[in-house]
Every structure is written in C-alpha cells, then in structure tokens.
C-alpha cells in the first residue's frame, strides 16, 4: 500500500462514514460497487481510491448497527450485497452531520481570520 494511499484513508476515516451514510440515506439501498462509484462521482476523482478501501468503513458501520447488509440481485441479475441505512443510522447521520457542520464552520472561520 503506498504512502499516499494511506494518507488518503486516514484523511477519509472520519468523513468516509458520513459520506456512506449520506449516500445510503439519499439514494436508498446500495451495494459496495454503487457506493464506490458514487464516491468517485462526488469526489470528482479527487480522491482516487481503490474500491476495496471502502470495505473497512462498511464493516465498521455495520458493527455499529447503523447500516444493514442484505443479499439481493442487480438489474443485470448479478448477486450483490445491498446496504441499507437503519433507524440508528439515520440518527447517527443527523448527529454526525451537525458535528461536521460545526467543525467545518469552525475551520472555515479560522481560515478566514488567518488570511
């Protein structure tokens, strides 16, 4: 694993959970490939990550009980594990979003003052 990649993951640790939860909340049940694709879209390929790096976040969220994985079939009749946000996940998303807003507002202010 390259150093750059490691950095990206560390950078993502906090935000990745939020992004995944948000994606599932807005787009309904998704499988890992879809989530990864979505991630690439919204990051505008800024975060050029391997799709496999998504898996730790998925298992973490599942262990917290915020998302739930269920096996299903895709439109092309391939099997895939669909993740769905749970009620606890909705609550967590709300909290995390607020936390994130506060944090980013704080950082924003800090950066403004400095410039």
């Amino acid at each position: 694993m390259s150093n750059k990649e490691k950095e990206s993951i560390q950078l993502l640790q906090g935000t990745l959970d939020l992004i995944v939860l948000r994606t599932l909340a807005t787009m309904g049940p998704q499988h890992a490939y879809q989530i990864a694709t979505r991630l690439q879209q919204i990051s505008d390929r800024l975060l050029n990550l391997n799709q496999g790096t998504l898996y730790p976040a998925l298992v973490r969220l599942e262990q917290y009980g915020w998302i739930k994985g269920i096996w299903g079939r895709t439109a092309s009749n391939r099997e895939a594990k669909y993740y769905e946000i749970t009620k606890a996940g909705q609550r967590a998303l709300k909290e995390e979003t607020q936390g994130w807003r506060r944090m980013s507002a704080l950082v924003e202010r800090l950066l403004l003052e400095e410039s």
């Binding site: 694993m1 499988h31 890992a32 490939y33 990550l49 391997n50 799709q51 496999g52 790096t53 898996y55 730790p56 976040a57 298992v59 973490r60 262990q63 917290y64 009980g65 915020w66 994985g69 895709t74 092309s76 391939r78 099997e79 895939a80 594990k81 606890a88 967590a92």
Partner: protein, 905 residues
C-alpha cells in the same frame, strides 16, 4: 451503546470468524463481477475487463486484511491463532507435552500446597478487625531461661494490676486455657475451654454469631455464663438456634450459654487442631488466686488492643511502669524476683515458633520448583534444537524474530497454564488429605485452604515459570543462524555449542540445588535418628497412661480425694496382669512443664546465674516401677512417706550433677521457692535417671519428685488456705499383658470407683512417644520427599542431557569406532562428560548447603549443619546417581554401528 455493541462483536468475531470471512469473499467476488460487467460494456475484451476490474478494486488481499483489522481485535485474534497453532504442535508430540505438563503440575502443585500453609500460618492477617493493633502483654522474669515458653505469661495479680493501671490499651484482658470436664448429656468428656476477662472479647472485636458475649462486669461478678464456639454449638447442640439460655455442666458446675461465636473465630490461636478452645467463660479470678503460690504462678496470658496513636513501644514502657510497681508490692516470699513487661504483636506471638519450619518447607519446595523449571527449560531447549531447521526455514521465508519469540513463549504459557491448572487440583487434593497430618505445632491450621490469594499465587507462579523456562530456549531459537543451519543440511552433527553450554549450566544448577536439598534431608533424617536414639529414661513397653481430673464439686475435701486415690491404686494393683501402678502429675513424653524455683542448701549460684528451676512431679503409688525409671542411688518413696513424716524428695541425675557435682546427693536438702521464701527443707532420699518429659529432642530438665501427700506441707507460705493436693494426675500402669487390652480394664475400674469420672487421653506410652515425635517426623518426611523428588528430577535432567548429546553425536561416535577407538573408550568419554557436570554441580550444591545451614539449624537435633558424614554421603550419592544416569546413554553411544558413519551421509 453502539460502541459496546461493536466491542462485543469484535470479541465475538474472534471465535466466529470463518463465516464472516466467507461472506467477505462472496461480496468481493460480486463486486469484481459488477466491475467486470461495466468494463465489458465499455467494449473491453473479457481478459482486459478482468484485469481492469482488479485494478480498480485494488489489492484483494489488502482489502481483506483491512476488513479483518476493522472487524476484530487483531492482536488478540493473532494470539488466538498462535495458540491454536501451538496446541496443534504440542498435540503432535504427546510425550514431550505430557512430561512437561506433569512436571509443571507437580512443581506448581507442591509449591501451591506449601504456599497455602505459609499464607494461612504466616502471612494472612489475624482474623480480627484491625489485627495489627492487637498485642500480647507478658512478663519476662529475670533469670528464667525459658526457651520452650511459646508465649509470654503473667500471674493473676499481674492481670489485675495491668488492667487497672495501664493507659495505653483501649481494651486489655487476661485469659487462661485449661481442660474442662464437660458433663450433663451423654458421657462426660474433656473439652478445652478458656477462662477470660470480658475485656478480651472487647479487645478482639469480633461480634458473636448468636446472643452476646459476656462483659467485664459479669466477669467481675463471677457470673456463671458461657460463650460457645461454632464447632461446639454444631457438634453438641446440633446447631440448635434455641441453645441460648441452656446450661452446660463444667466440672459439674452449671453455666448458662449466652452466645455462640462465628465459625472462623478462634482464640487463643493455639497451635494444632486439638487444642482449640471450645467455649469461653469469665475469668472471675478467685481471692486465693492472688495469694500464696498462685501469685507467683505465671500461668495466664494477656491480650490487648492499643489505643489509637499509641505504639507498641509506648505501651511497653507504660506496662513496665506498672510492672515495677508490682515488683515493689511483691510479698516477702518472692521479694527478690525481678521481671519486666514485654509487649508483642499478637501476630508475631502466634507465629514465632512455627516460622522456621514453615520457612524451611517453603525453601524446600521452591528448590523442587527450580529444578522443575531447569528440567523444563532443558526439554524446551532440546525441542528447539530439534526444530532448528524448521525455524531456519521459517526465518528464511521472512518470519519475524518477534513472531518466533512470541510463539515460543506462547508454547510455554500453554504448557504452564495447563500444568498450573492440574497443579492447583493436586494442591487441593493434597491439602484436603494433608491438613490432618500437619504437626500440632502449627497455629491457625483450620484456616489453611485454597483461597483466592493462593489461586492467584498459583496462576502467577505458572505464568512466571512458563515465562522463565521459555525465555532461554526462545532466545536460542531466534538466534538460529539461517545460513549455518541450512548449510548443515540433513547432517545432525554436534551442533549448537551455545545451546549445549546453556543446557549444561541448567543441569549443573539442578544438581546443585538438588544436592542442597538432599543434604538438608540427610541432616533431618540424621536428627530424627538421633532423636530415636535418645535415652528416654523410662520403659515405654507395656505401659498405659491416662489422665483424670477431680471436680471440686464432688471432691471438696482432702480426705475425699485421698480415699479415691487409695481405692484407685488398690483396685488397679489387683488387676490380673498388673505389675506396677503409680500416679504422677507429669507424664513423660507428654509435654514439658516450665518448672518451679528451688533453693538448694549450700549452693552458691554464680553471679548473674539463672533461677534454680526444676520440673516438679508429684507422685503417688509406684510410678518409678510402672514407668521403669531406673533408680541410681538411694530409694524411691514408700507408703510411709506421708503428710506427717519427714519431707523427702527424689532428684534426677541432671539435678544431682548440676548442684552437687561429684557428690552423693542423698541427704542433701532443698526447698521450694526463693531464698526469701520460708519454705521447709526437703531431704533428698534418692537419685533416678533423667527422663524426657517432652519430645526426645528437647533438653532434659532438672527434675524433682515428691510424694503428692507432702505437697501442701512443703509449700509453706506458698500454699493457699485450704489448698487441696492430688486433684489430678496421670495414672501409669505397667502390665504383663498387651496394654491395649488393659485399656478397657482400666476404664472399667475407674467406672466402678466413680461412674462419672472420665479418663482423658488414655493411651499407651508408645503412642505418647510417637505423638511427641510427630512434628519432627512431619518435617523430616516432607523435606525428604521433596529431596527425593529433587534428586529424581535432576537425575532425569542429566540423563536427558547426556542422552540427547549422545544422539546428536552418534555419527561422531561411529566414526571414532570406525577409526579404531575401543568401545570402552567411548563409554568413558560419555561418562566423563556426565560426571564432570555432576562434580561441578555437587561443588556448588555443597556451597548451597552451607548457605542454607542458617535456615536449617533450628530444625536440627544434635547434628551440625556441616555434618561431614551427611555432606559427603549426599555428594557421593549424587555423583553415583549422575554416573548411573549417564551410563545408559553411554552404552547406547558405544554401540554405534561404524557402518553408519560410512552410510550415513
């Protein structure tokens, strides 16, 4: 909440990982398939699409590892995996595993069992609240060298004075234990009880289980109340909750039961099982206990609780002030006595005498454990040498040294925890069986058991043992040089010289400590033998003894007592087979007494000499004949030595030689008390042999015998008003018949004279001797069995070492033989290497024995800790055993087939 859930899941997945792993595999597969589909749709060939999918996904194995790291505790799961691996490995070599675990189990089991004794007897705080504030208060009488006095003692006036005049104690009280005749329901029985001040309960601070304890006021008023022990309540009252208010008869006087103490309450903390107090009565000192001889009898003890902020030293000087006043008030007949007060921690007072024995046992068992460790380390080293190639291959393939080290240590932990668990079971069994065999010299025996502290100790010991034993082989393993080992190829040459040195050092150490223990055991055996050789001064064969104590209620006058004694002697003499019958106040072998002070006519003691103490036996009938005590000079007592005739005495040889060296003691005079005591003279009419009153390994005391009928007359001012004599005594009966058959006859005779009077401790003299030998027998047997275990283990160690090195050098031996070396030469070569190690070990072991001598000295009897015979014998035995252990592999080495050397490569 969610975090808890996650932690739980992470733990859970340590054990149910395979399902999750399979699911992950499936999910990744699906993911890749979808990616592939996408690339196919973009018009790639299936080959390209697959590669592109992989590329976009990234490393599959890395993703899996990240997933694993996230979902479970990886450190733990690694250890778990290693453990499974270790267990599998161990199962593959059952011989090694079973040997190692059994050895550990024995070592840890024995150490744990002994530690539980150490813990209960020496380390555990006394079972009272704030035990370090509890102290004993006693007198040290100047000139009285009383080595056998276990506990400092006081007189009745002392109890009164100390309680009244000291200021350092929040509670302070006196107590006296004695044997009581308990009657009422069923056969009368002898029961240990304690008379004590109400203040003692207050000082100890243990609330009763039922009812209440008595107060100091009740004590002073002489209330006849009793507090029962839990044991007595259970055994005699079947745990009846309505016991309060019922009566017990003690020496035929009624006492009302007012309370029951909890199960673990024990006071005084007497050594042994049999001597525990079964009930407590108010001390209620009687007026006569403050006068005459009673005032000079140090036969009670005191215990107190220090006031907050007062140190034991302060309390001691406070008590000393009172003691000096007591001395100033001494009556005329004991004016010259000097004493001072001593305050000791109750804990210290309780364990002092038991300490050397317990420490020695612990030392012995630690030695065994050390040998076990060394042996195990040796076994593990051999194992790691055997696995050198495997380890080298693993290192070459990139295994980290840390991983190898961890696995090596883990292997030992698995072994030692298994050994520890079995050892703990063994210890539990040993304790269950063994506590009843413990000598009666240890206090707090009932508290011995496996409590959490002992368990913790065993677990810690197991881990420490595993860690230490595993360290050397583990490092040896990681130091393995990959190149060298792999280059050696299939050849099993004389490799690993570093390991060989380590193993030799282990074996030398083993032999050294085993020899230390062997000499200790030899010295103890020699002491035991010496004790058996001691001239006891009496003839134990065909002799019965039994104690009786007359209740004052029934035998209130001297004529009543004398009549009973006369009838008893007459009836016993007429028994068929009876040879000689006597009564004596002290039974040989049953226990020492500290004796009384005498004045010897014409004897000028050297400056600063001790008091003239001698044990005084009051006798009636023909105890000298019955016990077979040899008369050396003059005569023993007859019927005509009675209350109205001239006062006479018989002395033993030690007494005669000490006070009248080189003279005939017959006709010399002595009297009871101190020079200022106006007691009448007694004339010595005979000299008899020295008799051991206590165990044979204690010093013989100066002894004086006196007709019991002359007691009161000879006591002069020491006799209290209305004093009765012959109120108790040991019957000694020598018969031509089997003494055990005589037991029933003796009992029947007594029943005819007084149906209610019980006989206590009815036993043969052989039994009494055996009982007195029990403590020494116990430590001798135990330490010898440890020594045997140690020697066997170390011989096993040397055998394993030599056998292994012979196995490694088989080819070398074959080459030597092929080149013309005689087989005997090979044998010598191998024997030599074994004996050299043993010799070094023996040298070190002898040094160890010297170092251990200080610990051992107090347990020896008439044997120097440097007894050359024992030291030489042990060393030679060890050497011979080592030689024997090397001989087997030597023979095998010498039978190496020279053809092997040629074919082997």
């Amino acid at each position: 909440m969610n975090h808890l859930r996650r932690i739980f899941l992470k733990f859970y997945l340590l054990f149910a990982d395979s399902k999750v792993e399979a699911e992950l595999e499936r999910e990744i597969g699906a993911h890749l398939a979808l990616l592939e589909d996408e690339y196919l749709r973009q018009g790639m060939t299936s080959e390209d699409a697959r590669r592109a999918a992989r590329l976009a996904y990234g490393g599959v194995e890395q993703a899996k590892q990240l997933h694993r790291d996230e979902r479970g505790f990886q450190g733990l799961s690694q250890i778990l995996q290693d453990t499974r691996y270790t267990v599998r490995l161990l199962r593959k070599s059952p011989g090694f595993t079973v040997t190692a675990i059994l050895m550990l189990a024995l070592g840890i089991g024995a150490t744990t069992a002994i530690f539980s004794i150490v813990e209960a007897v020496l380390l555990r705080p006394l079972p009272f609240p704030d035990p370090d504030r509890l102290v004993t208060l006693g007198d040290e009488v100047e000139g009285l060298h009383c080595a056998s006095c276990a506990h400092s003692s006081v007189t009745a006036p002392d109890i009164r004075n100390y309680m009244r005049d000291t200021q350092s104690f929040s509670h302070l009280g006196g107590y006296r234990g004695r044997l009581f005749e308990l009657s009422g329901a069923g056969d009368p029985a002898a029961v240990n009880g304690t008379r004590m001040n109400g203040e003692v309960f207050a000082a100890l601070g243990v609330p009763p289980l039922l009812g209440r304890t008595f107060t100091q006021k009740e004590d002073e008023e002489g209330q006849q109340v009793a507090v029962l022990s839990y044991g007595m309540w259970q055994n005699r009252f079947h745990g009846d909750a309505n016991v309060l208010g019922s009566k017990i008869l003690l020496y035929r006087k009624p006492y009302t039961v007012i309370g029951v103490m909890p199960r673990d309450f024990e006071f005084p903390l007497n050594p042994g099982h049999a001597n525990q107090s079964e009930f407590w009565l108010p001390l209620s000192l009687q007026p006569e206990e403050f006068t005459a001889g009673s005032a000079a009898s140090w036969n009670a003890h005191m215990v107190g609780r220090l006031k907050p902020g007062i140190a034991a030293e302060q309390a001691q000087s406070d008590a000393n002030r009172v003691a000096q006043q007591t001395i100033r008030d001494y009556p005329d007949y004991m004016r010259s006595l000097r004493m001072h007060a001593v305050v000791t921690q109750l804990q210290e007072d309780t364990v002092r005498l038991a300490r050397p024995l317990v420490r020695t046992l612990f030392f012995a068992v630690i030695v065994v454990l050390l040998i076990v460790c060394a042996n195990l380390a040796g076994l593990l080293l051999v194992r790691s040498i055997r696995r050198r190639r495997e380890i080298a291959v693993r290192l070459a393939l990139g295994a980290r040294a840390g991983t190898l080290l961890r696995q090596a240590l883990l292997e030992n932990m698995v072994l030692s925890i298994a050994g520890g668990a079995i050892g703990l079971t063994l210890a539990a069994v040993a304790l269950r069986v063994g506590v009843s065999l413990l000598p009666q010299t240890l206090p707090r025996i009932n508290e011995i058991g496996l409590d959490w502290r002992v368990m913790l100790f065993a677990l810690g010991l197991a881990l420490l043992t595993g860690f230490l034993c595993g360290l050397a082989p583990a490092f040896a393993a990681i130091r393995t040089s990959v190149n060298e080992t792999l280059k050696e190829g299939g050849r099993s040459g004389a490799s690993g010289s570093g390991h060989a040195r380590l193993r030799s050092a282990l074996v030398v150490g083993e032999i050294a400590v085993a020899l230390t223990l062997l000499t200790a055991s030899g010295l103890l055996l020699r002491s035991f033998e010496k004790m058996r050789d001691v001239e006891l001064g009496f003839r134990p064969a065909n002799t019965l003894a039994a104690l009786y104590v007359l209740p004052q209620q029934r035998y209130a006058t001297q004529p009543a007592i004398d009549e009973l004694t006369k009838n008893l002697l007459n009836d016993l003499r007429q028994l068929p087979g009876a040879d000689a019958v006597g009564i004596t106040s002290f039974l040989p072998a049953a226990g020492n007494n500290w004796g009384i002070a005498f004045v010897i006519e014409g004897y000028v003691p050297p400056e600063g000499a001790a008091l003239n103490m001698a044990s005084m036996s009051l006798v009636d009938g023909d105890p000298f004949e019955a016990l077979g005590i040899r008369v050396l000079r003059g005569r023993v007592f007859t019927e005509s030595d009675n209350a109205s005739s001239q006062l006479v005495a018989v002395v033993n040889r030690k007494m005669a030689e000490h006070y009248w060296p080189g003279q005939d003691p017959i006709g010399k005079r002595l009297r009871r008390g101190l020079p200022e005591t106006s007691t009448p003279w007694m004339t010595v009419v005979g000299e008899v042999d020295d008799v051991k009153l206590g165990p044979a390994d204690t010093e013989t005391m100066a002894q004086v015998y006196q007709p019991v009928t002359q007691t009161v007359a000879s006591e002069g001012p020491l006799a209290s008003a209305g004093e009765l004599s012959a109120t108790d005594g040991w019957i000694v009966l020598h018969s031509r018949m089997d003494p055990e058959q005589m037991e029933d006859t003796l009992r029947a005779t007594m029943r005819q004279i007084d149906p209610q009077l019980p006989l206590y401790q009815l036993q043969t003299m052989e039994h009494a001797i055996s009982k007195s030998e029990a403590p020494r027998r116990f430590n001798t047997v135990l330490i010898s069995s440890f020594a045997i275990a140690a020697v066997l283990l170390s011989v096993l160690g040397i055998y394993a070492l030599i056998a292994f090195s012979v196995a490694l050098r088989e080819q070398e031996m074959a080459v030597r033989i092929a080149l013309g070396c005689q087989r005997s030469g090979v044998i010598l070569l191998i024997l030599n290497s074994g004996v050299r190690l043993a010799a070094v070990g023996c040298g070190l072991g002898l040094l160890g024995a010297v170092a251990a001598s200080r610990l051992l000295r107090s347990l020896l009897f008439e044997v120097s800790p440097f007894d050359p015979g024992v030291l030489a014998f042990s060393a030679i035995a060890m050497l011979l055993l080592a030689m024997a252990a090397s001989a087997l592999p030597a023979r095998r080495g010498s039978s190496a087939d020279p053809m092997m050397a040629l074919r082997g490569e």
